[in-house]
Symmetry: C2
Subunit: 611 residues, 2 copies
């Protein structure tokens, strides 16, 4: 087990290696933007799928919907720019909501973030595999397996401690930006040279009418273009000084790039009247239309896959960080707060990998099925964070606080409206799952916190007298299965700690006890032997009954100490050759709850078999 | 867990309920013949399938092959009649071979019996389901699931303690005899009235020539008709006195019935030229031909299913009895020798159910695929048993010993030849599996026996001085994770058994120890506290290193006693909220092998959380 783990994740690292590294703006952009930039891949696809249901008439709306989302993006980016200024030490939704709106709002933001990170990983991986399968249609049927394989690779890499450092991640991010912007440029030139083409008529076999709900629905799905825009505000301390200023600049560049990628690709799709078959993404169809099917097209698809994999990777930085913060406050199991062998929060990563894997398998590796769950959590976290910022400015009442509060207030209102649209339009398709899970998580957080508080109370030393006398000479009970070296060794230890020792033999086969008694006469060193008959051939029950009876008889306020001689075979598979009586007795003794203040000590004396 | 078990298998029974019940000859026939009588179902089918490959020309040989098998049956029955006389207390193959041919031959016979019983169960269940599916073709595709469901029912019934008593089992056995003999009688009448019909020509699309190998092959498969004939010799003590005489009489009746069923059905099949499709058994086709498709036909199929289920049930009496005998001699794990809650050898039954389930699933619920494995083991056990009888008579040299030895000698020779034919003709089809498994089992038996002997030697008190002095005051090491009630309670116990106590704190987060030290000043009752730094954040490794180091420093020949304070949460799912450090430490301490004579006692002090 251990060597397998070390082979997968590398040898342990000492705590002192926890050092911080500062990022240039170029590196910062690469580190915090993959999720945001890669959103274009699925947001575009969602707008296409949403409108294609209404045929060419529907698709004619894609430019206007993209513009509406672009406006929302500008509002949200501006809002977060203010968050960066206000929280230079890192202003994630959890922090901002907790500090300004109270604990439950903070926990709700935390729950929304955990859901988001899981969905980011699942959506990015499946969308990346969809980009690859668009280029190689033979892979389309293996999307689940491919997504899980990618997930495994990313999990192992993260357990080894690959950081969100600017250097390694920079390559796929800039490759994607280069190839995608290049494609848009070529597309723009061809657009000027070739002029527009209409969408082919009779697209959907039974096209729906273009209703307001259809447009709202498409807007809601397209809002996934905004996911990841908040990442910069978590990472302010990673920038070089002046940290906040640099982070704000980088955020602005990122927002412009997002808008360019998103509006450019939606615009070109509409201009050229591009459509896609059921086993191809619309971005792939656009790239094919603009660049043909050759190496440049393949380059765009592969760089899309890469940047989406990097986006999934950012969840492996974000999710464990949020679980560790929540666990440190006592709202999630302690184990999530500990750094693992490689100085990463391994347990959080394994949890994320598990949840993501379940999402991928449960939704058949299909991005489109996952999207309805996705946007709900994102916009709830946005809203809570922006609302928290309004309270923050109002509390501080610094220079221009009204203006700043107004900016964040507009952000909060816009994202709240988007949240309601998404929850309404996508409710039946899966948004309800997230709307159920988020409050359930908050209830679970409170339950866990209550448990830890109760344990702390029970363990508290308050009221305990500082000098506690040792107990009187303990009674020791030694269950024996025969008279042999293992038992004699245990008897020796029993006599070392007490002179009130009793050996107990549970007689399963009538008549066996006689032989044992004879041997005990010789080897038992005058320790008394009690024989307990067992008409039902069980060892545990009669032995526990014997303990209860004698504890009552002695009535000295202290249950007897039980000393268990235990065989330890030389090889693990020898275990099946021995009854695990000591082990079963030990479990039975520990899990029978004792009355308050009655501690039953259990002593194991291992006897090591040599062969 | 426990209540589920009691619901399935009933409440425990006391040992004194183990009583014996004597069977009349009618009951004895029902108790020991199901396996033998029901063999007709698959043996007939095998002869048909073997010869049908050569078309009508092949099927014309079926009568002659059945006669040859009938002769073999007579020889084997006569041989076993002598075994009954010689071993009135029960003469299974294992006993006879062990006593007369030595231990390894006995173990080989035991291995052959275990293989047989497993295959009897698997073959009977699949053949029973085939009989049912012949009547209801819609069930044909669900044969694996149906066989497993039957297996589950029979396993549960046996775990509850349904015995091979004559009363319950008599019904299906006599129902089968009645309906099957009735069908043969109707068939005989119709045969006289209607005269013979030829097999339809051009049966197999590419009929093979009738070669000697094809006939041998068919003979080998048909020999499965003899399975179960030995059962009577195991059960002699269950008959009323004079036991041996009654058992012999019943054996003779059984052999005549077997011959009648087998020869009668094969003869009628040939006389009427009956053939069957790929989703029907030949017996079903014969019954349909003789009785039409009405209720009488259905009655025959259902009684066939029932008697086959009862035959599978006999394995649940035989297999656990053999494993318990072998385990009592120390050649199988002790657990197989213990009577369970319901006075049956539960572990052996569960083992049989597991092996049978694997056989059913592994061979796709197809009787025909299992048959090649079946006959090999049966005839090996026959041969060993009969050869053992020859030695038995020769050793005793009583009245007519030469004649008796000759009878068993002919039996041994005939079954040995049959064994060789089966092994040769069926080798590639699966007999090789059994030919590999049986010696492997014998090697495993010897390995297990060697292990127990070695353990006995290591545990032996030989050479141990009868009065062993208690150890000196033990050093106690108490690992602590903080200063709280659980620790204080453990400290109190530590001071009760020793005045050489040291508390140890493994510091995972640098700087934490300071706080612990301050609290320990107040609550530690002058027990020294050692802080062990852990740069890699592991608790187990540094603690074990500390133990090794201090054990060496003290060099008093005795490792320190480790006292582990252990949380016991109120609800099992609270476990995930607590690090299982005590549990992990305990495992690490026990499984690090200690040098000879160095016993490290481990003391658990449970602390019960109330909520």
């Amino acid at each position: 087990m251990r060597s397998l783990r070390e082979w997968l994740t590398g040898t342990p690292l000492p705590t002192q290696r926890l050092a911080t590294e500062r990022l240039s703006n170029w590196q910062g952009l690469a580190a915090f933007s993959p999720d945001a930039l890669s959103s274009v891949a699925y947001a575009n696809q969602e707008i296409y799928l949403g409108l294609a249901a209404a045929g060419a008439a529907g698709l004619a709306f894609s430019g206007r919907i993209a513009l509406a989302i672009g406006v929302l993006l500008a509002i949200v980016a501006l809002s977060y720019s203010q968050t960066i200024a206000a929280y230079p030490s890192g202003g994630g939704s959890f922090t901002v909501a907790s500090e300004n709106l109270g604990r439950t709002a903070g926990l709700l933001a935390g729950a929304a973030l955990l859901v988001d990170y899981s969905l980011t990983a699942a959506v990015s991986l499946t969308a990346g595999v969809a980009a690859l399968s668009s280029a190689f249609p033979a892979l389309w049927d293996y999307r689940v397996a491919l997504s899980l394989a990618l997930l495994f690779l990313i999990t192992v890499a993260n357990l080894r401690g690959v950081r969100e450092s600017g250097t390694l991640m920079a390559f796929p991010v800039y490759l994607f930006l280069g190839s995608f912007l290049g494609m848009l440029a070529v597309g723009a030139v061809r657009a000027v040279l070739e002029g527009p083409s209409p969408f082919p008529g009779g697209l959907a076999s039974a096209a729906l009418p273009v209703t307001p709900f259809l447009l709202l629905h498409t807007f809601a799905a397209g809002c996934t273009a905004l996911t990841g825009v908040e990442a910069m505000s978590n990472g302010v301390p990673a920038f070089r000084p002046p940290e906040a200023r640099n982070a704000q600049k980088t955020l602005a560049v990122m927002a412009v790039l997002m808008a360019a990628l998103f509006l450019g690709s939606v615009g070109l799709t509409q201009y050229f009247g591009v459509t896609a078959g059921s086993e191809e993404t619309i971005l792939s169809a656009l790239a094919r239309r603009v660049l043909g099917g050759g190496p440049f097209y393949l380059g765009v698809q592969l760089s899309t896959l890469l940047v989406l994999a990097v986006a999934a990777n950012t969840s492996f930085a974000g999710f464990p960080r949020v679980t560790s913060v929540i666990a440190q406050d006592g709202f999630l199991p302690h184990q999530l707060a500990h750094l693992g062998d490689r100085l990463v929060y391994s347990n959080g990563m394994i949890l994320l990998a598990g949840v993501t894997g379940v999402l991928i398998v449960g939704f058949g590796g299909d991005t489109h099925s996952l999207i309805p769950l996705f946007a709900v959590g994102v916009f709830l976290a946005f809203t809570l964070s922006q609302a928290g910022m309004v309270v923050h400015w109002w509390r501080g009442r610094g220079a221009y606080w009204r203006l700043k509060a107004a900016v964040n207030g507009v952000g909060a209102a816009a994202t709240a409206i988007a949240f309601l649209i998404v929850a309404y339009a996508k409710f039946a398709e899966g948004a309800w799952i997230v709307l159920v899970i988020m409050p359930a998580l908050v209830i679970m957080f409170h339950g866990i916190h209550g448990h830890y508080r109760e344990v702390g109370r029970e363990l508290s030393l308050k009221g305990l007298p500082p000098d506690i006398k040792p107990l009187p000479n303990p009674r020791v009970v030694l269950p024996i299965s025969g008279v042999h070296r293992g038992v004699i060794q245990a008897l020796r230890f029993a006599r070392t700690i007490s002179d009130r020792v009793t050996a107990v033999y549970v007689e399963v086969k009538p008549g066996e006890a006689k032989k044992i008694r004879e041997m005990w006469e010789r080897w038992g060193q005058d320790v008394p032997l009690e024989v307990v008959p067992s008409p039902y051939r069980s060892i545990v029950g009669p032995f526990l009954d014997y303990l209860d009876k004698t504890d009552q008889e002695h009535n000295d306020g202290q249950p007897a100490v039980v000393l268990l001689p235990e065989f330890v075979p030389a090889r693990w598979w020898h275990y099946i050759l021995h009854n695990q009586t000591a082990w079963i007795l030990r479990l039975a003794l520990i899990y029978r709850r004792r009355r308050e203040g009655r501690i039953r000590a259990i002593i194991d004396i291992p006897f090591y078999l040599k062969e």
